[in-house]
C-alpha cells in the first residue's frame, strides 16, 4: 500500500510550512520511522518521519518551497506499485490553491486560500461582497447540478460537448466568470484552473479574514483569560416562541410527505443560526492569540451524543444551503457520527456549534466552548407554558437557548444582538423560505 507524505499540521494555527531539507532522495528505500525530511513553520523546524515502508518513489515538493498544510510532499510505495492516481490527485489539488491564493492577494485581504461559493445571502456582509468582486463568479456545484446553468458561450458549450469535457469542472475566464473558448482549450490540454474540484470539497478550515487586535481587545483578552480558565466564557440566555416555527415545520413536512424527507427542529435551527450569523459576522469568529479570525463562511457543528462521548460533525457553508439539503446532509453526517465513521475533517473546524439537549427534557443548560470556535449555542426542550401576551395569559410553545461566548473575542452586546436576530428569525420563520 502506498503511503502519502504530507505537510503535516504541526499546530492548529499552522497554515503552511516550508520544506527545509530532504534527508532521503527519490528511489531511496525507506523504513517506517525513518526521518524523511525537515519542515519549518515560524522559527521552529520539525523532522517528519515515514509512516510506512517502501521506496520513496516521488518527491513532489522541492527544498525551500512553502506549501499549505495537507499538501502531498512525496509518495512511498513498493517498487512496482501503480501510484499514478495519487500523483494525479496531487496535481489536481495543487493548481486551484495557487489560484485562490492569488485572487485573495488581489482582494488585499490576508485570508486563507479557500473557495468562496457565492450566494445572494453573503452579499449582506461587506467581507463577502469584497470576496465576490475579487473572485470569478461561479455557481457552486451544489446549487447548479445542471450544466445548462453554468455560464458559457455557445461555442464553448459545443466545444466542451465535442471533447467530452464537463462544463461544471471548467473555470471561466470571460466576463462574469463566463466560460469561453480558451477555457475549454486550456481544459482540453490539462491546464484548466480546475477550481471546481475544490469548491465541491470544502476543506476543514473555513476561510476567514484577519482582524488585528486593538490595544483594548488585547487587554480584554489578557484580563479575562486570567479570571476563568484559558477560554473566558460568559453565557446569555433567552426564551424564544416556537409556535410559528412548529406550525411551519408541520406544513413543510406535510408537503414533503411524498418525498419521504422530514425536517426536524434541529435542521431549522442550523439554517436560522447560519442566517443570523451572516448578519452578525463578529460572532462567527475564533480568537487566535494575536488576532481574531472572522470567518467568511458559516460552518455549523452539530453536537451528537455517541456511545462513549460526543462528537460534532460539521455542516459546511450552512448559510448557502437550503433546508432540504441541510436536512439530508446533517442526517447523513449524524448517522455516520454514530457509526464512528467520520473523517477528522468532517468534525473539525466548526465556526459555530449547536448542542441540543431538548430530547432529554432539559429546559436550559450552558455548553462549554470547543476551541478554537468562540461560541456555542445550548438548546433546551420546547415546552408549553403560560406566557403574558398583550396583558393576557396565553399558552405558548417556548424554547430556551443559551449562547456561550469566548469573551476574548465576543462581547456581551455582540452576543445579545446575535441572539435577538436568532429569536426574531425563529419567531418570524419566513426566513426559512429564503
Amino acid at each position: 500500500m502506498a503511503t502519502r507524505v504530507v505537510m503535516s499540521k504541526l499546530s492548529p494555527t499552522m497554515e503552511e510550512g516550508r520544506v527545509l531539507h530532504w534527508l532521503k532522495k527519490e528511489g531511496d528505500p525507506v523504513e517506517s520511522g525513518d526521518v524523511l525530511l525537515e519542515v519549518e513553520t515560524d522559527k521552529a523546524n520539525m523532522e517528519i518521519e515515514a509512516m510506512g515502508s517502501g521506496i520513496l518513489r516521488n518527491i513532489l515538493v522541492p527544498e525551500d518551497a512553502t506549501v499549505p498544510t495537507g499538501t502531498l510532499l512525496g509518495v512511498i510505495a513498493s517498487e512496482d506499485e501503480d501510484i499514478s492516481a495519487i500523483l494525479a490527485e496531487a496535481e489536481a489539488h495543487a493548481a486551484p490553491s495557487e489560484e485562490a491564493a492569488e485572487s485573495q492577494k488581489a482582494a488585499g485581504a490576508e485570508a486563507v486560500p479557500a473557495p468562496q461559493p457565492t450566494s445572494p445571502l453573503q452579499t449582506a456582509s461587506p467581507a463577502a461582497a469584497a470576496q465576490e468582486q475579487a473572485e470569478p463568479v461561479e455557481e457552486p456545484a451544489a446549487q447548479a447540478p445542471d450544466a445548462r446553468r453554468v455560464k458559457a458561450s455557445p461555442l464553448a458549450r459545443r466545444m466542451a460537448q465535442e471533447r467530452g469535457i464537463e462544463l461544471r469542472l471548467v473555470g471561466g475566464s470571460g466576463p462574469g466568470g463566463r466560460i469561453i473558448k480558451r477555457d475549454i482549450e486550456a481544459a482540453a490540454t490539462g491546464g484548466a484552473p480546475a477550481f471546481k474540484a475544490v469548491s465541491t470539497e470544502l476543506g476543514p478550515e473555513p476561510p476567514y479574514e484577519r482582524v488585528e487586535l486593538s490595544q483594548l481587545r488585547k487587554a480584554i483578552a489578557r484580563n479575562l483569560a486570567q479570571s476563568l480558565g484559558p477560554v473566558p466564557h460568559f453565557f446569555l440566555t433567552t426564551e424564544i416562541d416556537m409556535g410559528r416555527v412548529s406550525e411551519l415545520r408541520s406544513e413543510l413536512n406535510e408537503s414533503l410527505e411524498e418525498t419521504g424527507l422530514k425536517i426536524g427542529i434541529n435542521e431549522i435551527l442550523v439554517k436560522i443560526a447560519a442566517q443570523a450569523l451572516l448578519e452578525h459576522p463578529s460572532v462567527n469568529v475564533a480568537f487566535a492569540e494575536d488576532h481574531i479570525r472572522r470567518f467568511t463562511r458559516v460552518d455549523i457543528g452539530i453536537a451528537v451524543a455517541i456511545d462513549d462521548g460526543l462528537i460534532t460533525p460539521v455542516l459546511r457553508d450552512a448559510a448557502a444551503k437550503g433546508l432540504r439539503q441541510i436536512s439530508t446532509e446533517s442526517r447523513e453526517l449524524i448517522a455516520r457520527a454514530r457509526a464512528k465513521k467520520l473523517a477528522p475533517e468532517e468534525y473539525q473546524g466548526a465556526t459555530f456549534t449547536i448542542s441540543n439537549l431538548g430530547m432529554y427534557d432539559i429546559d436550559e443548560f450552558t455548553a462549554v466552548i470547543n476551541p478554537p470556535a468562540a461560541t456555542i449555542l445550548a438548546v433546551g426542550a420546547i415546552r408549553e407554558k403560560p406566557v403574558v401576551v398583550n396583558g393576557a395569559i396565553e399558552i405558548r410553545s417556548r424554547m430556551r437557548v443559551t449562547l456561550s461566548c469566548d469573551h476574548r473575542a465576543v462581547d456581551g452586546a455582540m452576543g445579545a444582538e446575535f441572539l435577538a436576530t436568532l429569536r426574531r428569525m425563529l419567531e418570524n420563520p419566513l426566513h426559512l423560505v429564503l
Binding site: L10, S11, L20, D42, K43, A44, N45, M46, E47
Partner: protein
C-alpha cells in the same frame, strides 16, 4: 498549585563551546525521545562569540567575511534549527529546553509562544515591559529585539531554544543582519535598565518563569548525573 512533573535544571558554568553544546543537546534529546531520560530538561549557559546559521539562513545575512570573523575570534556554525542568522556571546543567557511536547502540547506554534511568554515574564523581574511582534518570533521591547528564539523538534522532543541578551556587547550584532530582518535593532537587559546586570540573576528569573509557564517543578541537576 504544585506541579507534579519535574524539569531538571542544568546550569553550565563559564562559556560552553557551541559545538560541544550541540553534541550534548543532540544526545540528551535522543535520550528524552527514547525514554531513557524521563524528565524534561532546561539547559542554561553562555557561549563564546559565535555566529550560527539556521536552516533558513542566507549567508548574505552575515555581513562580515569568514576570514575576518576568524581573526576576530568569532566562530561560524551551521545548525539544524529554524531561523536565520543568530549571534551568541558572553553576557547572553542561552536556554536549551529538551522537553517532550507529547507531554505538554503537540503544537509548534504553542511552544514558540510559550517560550516568548517565559522571557516576557522573566523580564518583568527587571521591570522591563516586553512583548511579541506578530510574525516575528522573539521577544521585543517596543521595536528593539531583546531575545531570539529558534527551535528544532524531533519526535516532538525539542532542542535549541532561546537567547536573551543580558549584558551582551550589542556591537557584535553588527557582524550580522539578525534574523535576516534588515532594520532590526538589538537591545539587552543592561541597555534597557541602564544598570549592570548579572547573568546569574537573569538565569534565576528565566528558570522560574520557565517552570511556571510549562507547569514543571525545577530540580537542579549536575551534568555528571544526567550523562
Amino acid at each position: 498549585m504544585t506541579a507534579e512533573r519535574i524539569c531538571k535544571l542544568l546550569r553550565l558554568p563559564g562559556l560552553t563551546d557551541y559545538g560541544e553544546a550541540l553534541v550534548l543537546q543532540r544526545r540528551l534529546a535522543q535520550a528524552r525521545a527514547s525514554g531513557q531520560l524521563t524528565d524534561d530538561l532546561l539547559i542554561l549557559l553562555e557561549h563564546p562569540r559565535v555566529i550560527t546559521l539556521g536552516r533558513g539562513a542566507r549567508t548574505a545575512n552575515v555581513r562580515t567575511p569568514t576570514e575576518l570573523l576568524a581573526s576576530l575570534g568569532v566562530q561560524l556554525h551551521e545548525v539544524e534549527r529554524g531561523g536565520d542568522v543568530t549571534y551568541h556571546g558572553p553576557g547572553q543567557l542561552v536556554g536549551y529546553p529538551i522537553i517532550d511536547l507529547g507531554r505538554h502540547k503537540k503544537d509548534l506554534h504553542w511552544y514558540l509562544r510559550r517560550l516568548e511568554e517565559v522571557l516576557v515574564e522573566a523580564l518583568k523581574s527587571f521591570r522591563i515591559t516586553s512583548g511579541r511582534v506578530p510574525g516575528y518570533t522573539g521577544v521585543w521591547v517596543e521595536d528593539r529585539k531583546i531575545a531570539s528564539i529558534g527551535v528544532h523538534v524531533s519526535r516532538w522532543v525539542t532542542s535549541h531554544g532561546f537567547a536573551l541578551n543580558v549584558s551582551t556587547d550589542l556591537a557584535d550584532f553588527d557582524l550580522i543582519i539578525p534574523c535576516g530582518i534588515e532594520a532590526v535593532k538589538m537591545t539587552s537587559v543592561q541597555r534597557e535598565t541602564g544598570r549592570t546586570q548579572s547573568i546569574v540573576e537573569a538565569a534565576e528569573a528565566v528558570a522560574r518563569s520557565f517552570a511556571e509557564v510549562f507547569d514543571l517543578a525545577l530540580e537542579p541537576a549536575e551534568l555528571a548525573s544526567i550523562r
